[in-house]
């Protein structure tokens, strides 16, 4: 059973997604035959404002395609996306320029997501410069403030991304995302591949930033146990569909879909060590 977010969230939803679908056409490299992949199918869900919603699923379940469609980096084939009460699905280029600063993405591969030819401060200033916001001096001041806010020393402003560790680069990516004062941050596997200590520091930072800026997060991950640490709501994706959605307590305590039950069992198997590893997979 998919629980209605409206029952869970007292405030109107920040994002509403209705019957969203995206299909990719591909061609086999060997036989040259064309085939289609339904990356997301008929997806319905809502993001409650000021809350963390975790989107969990295996590799290839459609999580990143959903993030790309939400940010309109990919145009959905059908369905609707409502953001802050407006239907943004068919936004024009001018409307997109208004919409995009309100929603920012932080990707997993921070080394690939940041321009390695720019310095840390230039990376944060870039979205402001593109939108001609503030003077050069004001943009630099804002960049240094944001660096301090995410825990990077301001005197690292001239460092290049490759001079920073993975965790520090992720902080820089978060600072850049915050530059345009978004209301929604989509964190697409942003914590994957980081060690537990760095992960814990970034989670702490995200919690602090959320409190300070009333941010809404969509935390995308394949790691249910990580998502369960900070999410208020959890959506489970499987083969392009959201198969379960509800409050964290409800989804973890009374999982109704078979795939959610499998994900919980897998996470427990890993957490409880050898005794469970020797049992057959659910």
């Amino acid at each position: 059973m998919v629980t209605s977010a409206a029952k869970l969230a007292p405030k109107p939803a920040l994002v509403k997604v209705r019957a969203l679908s995206k299909r990719y056409e591909q061609r086999s490299r060997l036989s040259r035959k064309r085939f289609t992949v339904d990356a997301i199918r008929n997806v319905d869900f809502e993001l409650a404002p000021g809350c963390v919603t975790g989107l969990v699923g295996e590799s290839g379940s459609g999580k990143s395609t959903l993030a790309a469609c939400l940010s309109l980096l990919e145009r959905p084939d059908s369905g609707e996306i409502w953001f802050e009460g407006k239907n943004v699905t068919k936004s024009t280029a001018a409307e997109l320029r208004q919409f995009r600063p309100r929603l920012q993405l932080v990707f997993q591969d921070s080394a690939g997501a940041l321009n390695f030819r720019l310095t840390a401060a230039q990376i944060i200033e870039e979205p402001l410069a593109i939108r001609h916001l503030g003077s050069r001096h004001a943009r630099r001041r804002r960049a240094l403030d944001l660096m301090t806010e995410v825990g990077l020393p301001a005197d690292w402003s001239e460092r290049a991304p490759l001079q920073l560790s993975g965790g520090q680069r992720q902080r820089l990516a978060i600072a850049r995302a915050l530059a345009c004062q978004p209301s929604l941050l989509i964190l697409d596997e942003s914590l994957s591949g980081l060690d537990l200590i760095t992960q814990a520091h970034i989670l702490k930072l995200l919690a602090e930033l959320q409190a300070a800026h009333s941010l809404t997060y969509l935390l995308i991950s394949h790691d249910l146990s990580l998502v369960a640490r900070i999410a208020h709501y959890i959506a489970i994706m499987h083969r392009g569909q959201v198969v379960e959605y509800g409050s964290k307590e409800q989804v973890l305590a009374v999982p109704s879909h078979e795939h959610t039950q499998q994900l919980i069992s897998s996470a427990h198997a890993l957490e409880s060590g050898l005794a469970r590893l020797q049992e057959p997979l659910p």
Partner: protein, 287 residues
Amino acid sequence: MVGVLGESGSGKSTLAAALLRLLPHGTEISGSIFWKNQDLLSLPCAELGSIRGARIALIHQDPGLALSPVMRVGQQIAEVLRAHCKLGRAERRERVIGMLQAVDLRNPERVYRAYPHELSGGELHRVVIAQALVCRPELLIADECTRALDVATQIEILRMLREFNQTTGMAILFITHNPVELAGLADRVVVIYGGRIVEEGALAQVFSRPLHPYSQGLLSLMPRSFRAAGPDRSSLALIPDLTANSGGRGCVFEPRCSQRSAICAHEQPAEVAAEPGRKVSCFQYGN
């Protein structure tokens, strides 16, 4: 099966590369690495070549980089056999297909003919494991070999390694930043920080009662059960986000240690046997 546990930058992968003398040319290495009473550091290159890949195998953390994108996967595995075993082409092919089957790859014939970009992340991880195991090594060094995989695939790979360890007697040095993975796998654990071993002991001992402040902090971040109302990771007393003291004077963990004393900044603690079979490098346990 020994687990090497530490955060990014602690020196885990450097240790793995040093064991097989794979560090860049010109790197200064001191000490000794004994393999069956032979010091690998003083072994001529030809002799080392007969051990590397055949008797000691290494799985890299990024299978995308470990495999050539322009060669079929089966040929890449067969290449290892060609270098180390005297087998005919048909025998090599048979052995590679058998190995692909042993690492639970469905349709091994298809995988044999595939290029790396035609396989999923989980399949690529299994391919590099098959490549490492095809010569039936006595020691496998697995460097973060389940990194960035989803939990179900991670469990399947961990279980497979454990089975190989139990059925073939192959020793495994399992390198990871995630203590959760070791909980189901290792017999002993070595905790490494700032390029030094700070604690070593049986897994049950170290995980139930870590002695070194770094091990204590790291293991406190291990998720217990997310169904239980435990503390969330963002509210734990975190090890401060600072870099190791690599200047040479004092304990490497001193800048981040909540239990430091005056001596920690000036002297490097020696390794002491805190309990039978257990070593720790911290002034709290006598030095």
